[in-house]
């Protein structure tokens, strides 16, 4: 997994390339996703002529900020070999709860921490079911998904407008990021911060390395004396906190909370993470890859709206891309296990 960086440059270029691929095999799917993203950008630019504009690229990040945050959390869980189906519903629930608390006049400084805590609690509940009661992650997070969706409707059956200036500020402020019409909102900055923190956590902390170890082989990780129980629980908590944060961002994005928000988002998130090169069996993948996956997803949506085609094509294309990437992953795994 860790692999020594390629420092020796004795062999020919092809040899170095081969060595790079054999040592860094887990980066191949990420690079493939990046290649697809670049090809899509170039193709769309050639076709439309006005695709690669600062405005389109900027809004690509802003429209998918919540998905990016969810995907980072999901990456942690999938790396341990689990799955979290509850993220979309938790996002809706925390959004609803936050909006109703704000309506009741609570200050935003209280509401946002409450939303994050609720997300963490939902994640912890899933983790406890998975870790202590041997419930499969699929079923445990399914129960959390049902619970969160029901709770969201319990808060209110109709949508709640958010008028809190601090929340709306997150989305309405347009910061000029570079000359031209490059802009970024606080939600976009939040999402990028989450990506950076997630990537650093996974790459440079004991917690992150333990997650890779668990995904690689849980039994071995336990025998090595790694804190498997704590780390797995934490992975689900990370995903829950990300879902809570996504609730904040999505509420800011839409300016209102609706209990039906985020239906199917868990699937979009999983698809983005898989397209970004994370193996569903766990142990291999990167937060950066998930970010590319989200950008691929967002670009497909943008291209389809540029084409003026029906949005149902988005889902079909995502399904097809997902298939392509899973087959690529399958081939990579088969080749590395043969070695």
């Amino acid at each position: 997994m860790t692999g020594i960086p390629v420092t020796v440059e004795r062999a020919s270029a092809s040899g170095a390339l081969r060595r790079f691929f054999s040592r860094r095999a887990s980066w191949i799917p990420v690079l493939a996703a990046l290649a697809i993203l670049i090809v899509m950008f170039i193709g769309a630019q050639a076709y439309f002529g006005n695709f690669l504009t600062p405005r389109v690229i900027s809004s690509l990040l802003l429209d998918n900020a919540y998905l990016l945050i969810l995907a980072v959390g999901m990456t942690f869980v999938i790396l341990t070999g689990g799955i979290d189906l509850s993220v979309g519903a938790v996002m809706a629930f925390t959004g609803m709860l936050g909006a109703s608390l704000l309506r009741d006049g609570l200050p935003v400084g209280v509401v946002v921490p409450v939303m994050l805590l609720i997300g963490a609690a939902m994640g912890l509940a899933v983790g406890i079911m998975v870790q202590y009661f041997d419930v499969q992650p699929f079923i445990a997070s399914l129960a959390a998904m049902f619970a969160a969706r029901g709770l969201a409707f319990m808060v209110s059956l109709s949508s709640i407008r958010v008028e809190d200036p601090a929340i709306l500020w997150l989305q309405s402020t347009r910061i000029q990021a570079a000359p031209g019409s490059w802009f970024i909102t606080p939600t976009g900055i939040l999402a990028i911060l989450v990506v950076i923190v997630g990537a650093l956590l996974l790459a440079y902390t004991r917690f992150g390395r333990t997650i890779y170890a668990i995904g690689g082989n849980e039994q071995s990780a336990r025998l090595m004396g790694l804190p498997v129980v704590r780390t797995k629980l934490l992975a689900y908590v990370v995903s829950g906190v990300c879902a809570g944060l996504a609730g904040v961002v999505f509420t800011a994005y839409t300016g209102a909370s609706y209990p039906l928000n985020g239906i199917g988002t868990e699937l979009d998130t999983i698809a983005a993470v898989v397209i970004g090169g994370t193996l569903l069996t766990g142990g291999s993948g990167y937060v950066l890859g998930s970010m590319i996956g989200v950008l691929v997803y967002g670009s497909i949506k943008t291209v389809i709206s540029f084409l003026g085609a029906e949005q149902s094509w988005t889902r079909i294309t995502i399904g097809a891309l997902l298939l392509l990437f899973v087959v690529v992953q399958r081939i990579i795994v088969a080749r590395s296990s043969r070695r």
Partner: protein, 348 residues
């Protein structure tokens, strides 16, 4: 008594009976069945009728889960088959003709079968994890259904098609006959032939059963094909019930309900041994629970919360750790008995 307690069906049946008893106490009219014009009416009959699509889907899901797989695409397949059937009827010159309706149903179910075969191909031949292989179609399927209906909700008027879900035969809903026929056919195929045992073998250890000469590839493939076929039939029933093909709402979350029904019925998600009778009981339990929730005046939207509570209780009861803790607790409570006979009784 002990044999009854140890039966795998004991807890599922107990849950169902408890639900029915609670309902009957809360509203005595719950178990009343009235006869109107030779047709039976009543809450119980409604439950039997409304459970038909879930029953079909859950049957297929049981077989897939027995092979250590899962089929997430059933809801999307339902949407596709309903969209295909209704588009054919809508486009025909004679929407009330029996021939048109039969063609529509057959084509709709065949398309669903093709989708099931596709899932099976991805899992059995390409070797993709079942969750992801079927996730592909779950994502793409609704898009395909939307394309078929042109993005609209296709509505039709066709008496023979309406009969599928809303008609009565010999006093009972026709949909009930469809679902029961499916139960009987699947049970005969799985339990009166070697297929069931082979399916369990594949689910318990795919590699060992392959070495033992079981054609695991074909069996897994067949399981997904069957699941697709049954989901297609469920899609026909669903669209016939509302006489519309709603690509977004048809079969939404039914895959989760079906998985829940299978788990409630005592089939482990780890594959292997499965119980068709358990699934049937599980489906009725879920349908009764839903009707209870509606009766309690809870908005249907909140009903997932109750489902979640049920799921948590069921999986916790099934959890080995909780069981061993409970067993130890009950053993500690009993007076110590040193005689071997007494010991053997406690051990069970």
């Amino acid at each position: 008594m002990k044999r009854i307690l140890k039966n795998r069906l004991f807890w599922p049946v107990l849950a169902l009976v408890a639900l029915i008893v609670i309902n009957t106490i809360a509203r005595p009219s719950f178990i009343s069945i009235t006869v109107q014009g030779g047709q039976l009416y009543g809450p119980l009959i409604d439950i039997l009728r409304n459970s038909a699509p879930l029953m079909l889907v859950a049957l297929g899901m049981t077989i897939v889960i027995a092979t250590r797989g899962i089929d997430l695409s059933v809801g999307a397949v339902m949407a596709v088959s309903g969209a295909v059937a209704l588009t054919i009827i809508e486009g025909s010159s004679d929407p009330n003709g029996l021939g048109t309706v039969l063609v529509a149903i057959v084509v709709g179910v065949l398309v669903a079968l093709v989708l099931g075969v596709w899932n099976g191909f991805l899992v059995a031949v390409v070797g993709i994890q079942p969750i992801i292989a079927t996730l592909v179609l779950m994502l793409a399927g609704r898009g395909i259904a939307l394309l078929i209906t042109g993005g609209f909700i296709t509505t039709i008027n066709s008496e023979p098609y309406k009969f599928m879900a809303q008609g009565y035969v010999l006093g009972l809903p026709f949909a009930l006959y469809v679902s029961m026929a499916a139960v009987v056919v699947v049970a005969l195929l799985e339990r009166r032939t070697a297929l069931g045992v082979l399916t369990e073998a594949v689910g318990i250890n795919p590699e060992a059963s392959r070495l033992a000469g079981v054609r695991s590839r074909g069996i897994i493939w067949g399981a997904y094909a069957a699941s697709g076929l049954l989901a297609g039939l469920a899609g026909i029933l669903y669209s016939s019930n509302i006489m519309a093909a709603d690509a977004n709402a048809a079969g939404l979350y039914i895959e989760l309900d079906a998985i829940l029904a299978v788990v409630l019925g005592g089939t482990s998600l780890m594959g292997g041994k499965f119980s068709l009778a358990g699934t049937v009981v599980g489906v009725f339990t879920i349908q009764t629970l839903k009707s209870t929730i509606t009766f309690l005046g809870v908005p249907p939207a909140v009903s997932p919360l109750f489902l979640a509570i049920v799921v948590v209780i069921v999986v916790l009861v099934q959890s080995p750790r909780l069981r061993s803790v409970l067993a130890r607790a009950s053993q500690a409570l009993r007076p110590r008995n040193s005689s071997p006979q007494g010991g053997s009784e406690v051990a069970s």
